[in-house]
Each structure stands twice: as structure tokens, then as C-alpha cells.
Symmetry: C2
Subunit: 187 residues, 2 copies
């Protein structure tokens, strides 16, 4: 077989999840996720990466465009690979969910892209029938991280120098304890 690479095989979609604490009407403090409703189901705000755009920047851009919430990238949470999606133009699809930190809280959603947008308690979202399976799973991941530490669920990022003429890249993996971090840190 030819060893030459072909062409781009994947579109990359990125969703952002901004979990936050919020005061409910009943004076309970809820741990909430930011979600939008499309015709199918509740899901996280997100969209396709633009050429040259970093994963975290896609997430914060799409969250702002769809919900009006400003946010800051924290970590990757999950990656989905799917082939044969009818909306992927024959390409495969990678869908990455990021954990973001909200910097504003007032929702002002885009009516072209969603029917509703709200903060929903994550414990409710994790079991909501009208949410997609991936949305429920990520809600569970976030609840777990909220209760036992986000280090349990996060893939954090570091920027490293590339071999090619002054370029750099972003690398995502589990945090390393200091001992192991030092071992390989001759970057």
C-alpha cells in the first residue's frame, strides 16, 4: 500500500461545558451546566473548528456565539469518533468536549442556533431523557469532578516546541505528578 498520506479525513467539532455554582429559587446551591435545546435534544453549545483554530478557542467562541456567555478554557473531558454521519460530507467526525470556566452568567442565546438555552442542575442533566447520551455522560463526569476534584476527569494542556521551524503545538494528557513531570521536562 502507498505510504503517502492522503488528505484531511476529519472534521472536528468542539463543545464547551461551563459548569458553575448557581443559587436556585429554593436557596439550594446547584452545580449547573450550560445547555442549549435544538430540535432533537438538550446538548452542550458547540460547533466546528475553523481552519487553524485551537480546540479551546473553538469551544469558547462557540459558547459565546450561541449563548452569550464568556468563558475560559480549562481542560478536555471527552473525545468521540464517528464515521458516516449524514452531516459530515463523507468525512469522519471528531467531537471534543471541553471544560470551561464561565466568566459571565447572563444567557443571551442565538435564536438561529437554538430554541432555548439555560443553566440546568447537572444531577438532573445526567439523568434527563431528553438529553443526548453523550450529554448525560459528560454531566456525570462533571458531577464526579465537582465532588472529588476535576483532576479526576481532566486532560490538561501544555504548549511544546515542534520540530518544524519555530512552530509549537498543544498537547493534552492527564496531569503528571511532579516526579514524572520533571523526568521528561527537557522540552
Amino acid at each position: 500500500p502507498s505510504r503517502l498520506p492522503g488528505y484531511a479525513t476529519h472534521q472536528v467539532g468542539v463543545a464547551g461545558q461551563c459548569p458553575s455554582f448557581a443559587q436556585s429559587n429554593n436557596f439550594f446551591v446547584l452545580f449547573s451546566g450550560l445547555i442549549i435545546q435544538t430540535k432533537n435534544a438538550w446538548k452542550f453549545p458547540g460547533g466546528l473548528s475553523e481552519p487553524g483554530e485551537d480546540i479551546g478557542d473553538t469551544a469558547t467562541r462557540e459558547v459565546l456565539e450561541e449563548t452569550g456567555i464568556t468563558s475560559e478554557f480549562q481542560a478536555l473531558l471527552s473525545i468521540r469518533q464517528q464515521h458516516g454521519r449524514p452531516d459530515a460530507f463523507g468525512k469522519s467526525d471528531l467531537y471534543i468536549v471541553c471544560r470551561l470556566k464561565p466568566l459571565s452568567f447572563r444567557v443571551s442565546f442565538c435564536p438561529h442556533e437554538c430554541l432555548r438555552c439555560e443553566w440546568m442542575a447537572l444531577a438532573a442533566l445526567a439523568t434527563a431523557e431528553e438529553a443526548t447520551p453523550i450529554t448525560r455522560r459528560v454531566a456525570s463526569l462533571l458531577l464526579y469532578g465537582h465532588r472529588e476534584g476535576f483532576d479526576k476527569v481532566d486532560l490538561t494542556v501544555r504548549e511544546l516546541p515542534a520540530l518544524h521551524r519555530g512552530l509549537s503545538y498543544k498537547l493534552y494528557h492527564r496531569d503528571l505528578p511532579e516526579l514524572y513531570e520533571k523526568m521528561s521536562a527537557m522540552d
Copy 2:
């Protein structure tokens, strides 16, 4: 701005790392990683995903082609995103490293794709100057996982049903404790 998706923006490369225990000449048991040498440096065997191919299948296929080692997918370890690579035809590049379980151990490497191939002790690889920074980091991740449990570094996979006509997808994230797994498991 247009809300229509464009076209595929990423090529996806996948490398497989088959850590294994091996008896050295000095009768020490080493924890080794499978690596190949290209003109630049030591690195993990790997290559580009073919259209429609799952990440784990790319990893095991490339490892077999380049090294002669058969293996089984275990988990994702890290994800790199890079823009502007000269060998990426103007597309962005995602490079994913998987943890594989070796099913054979005798190296029979492809002379078209590498100069040498061997099992190297991971503690040595984590500090090897002639290895790429990402190779050293993943070696550190694997040492950490070997000593304290691979659950500390792995993103494991589950297959879930897609919304689209009988399709399914693969979803990678940190393992959830049973309590949280059940919560969202109405998939």
C-alpha cells in the same frame, strides 16, 4: 458569519505504544516501550488514519506494519493539535497516542519506514535526548501508570448508539465510578 460547516479541516495521525515487561540480559525485569528510529529521533510507531477507520484500529495496524508486533487497543493517552505542519497539506493535524497491549514480542520492522526498532526501558526513554518531547512525556505517563495503575492515565472507550439511523460511535473519557456510570447509563 455563515453557519454552514466547511470541509474536513484535520488529518488524524495515531501512534500506538505497547508497553511490556521484558527480561533484560542482566536478568532485570524492565518495563519497556516499543519505539522506532526515524531520521529525526526515536518515536512511537504510528501513521495516518484511513477514511472510516477507528483510532484504535489505526494504532494496531500501524504498529503491525512498522514493527511486526501484534497488539490490542487499551486506551487513549494523549492528544496533540498542531497547525501549519509542512507535511499536512495546509490542514491541521491531530496526533493521538494510544496504549496497546502487545500480543507478540519479536520485532520485524519495516525498513521503508524506520531505521531501527527496539524495546527500550521506559525510564530511559523518558529522559532520552534523542527522543521527541512528546515521546518522553508519554513514556513518563506510562511509567506513572505502570507504578500507580493505568487508570491514572487512561481514557477508556465505550460504544454508544448515535442519533442517526442505526449508527454508533466510540466515546473516550476517564472511567466513571459505578455510581456515576449508572446515573447516565440509559444509553
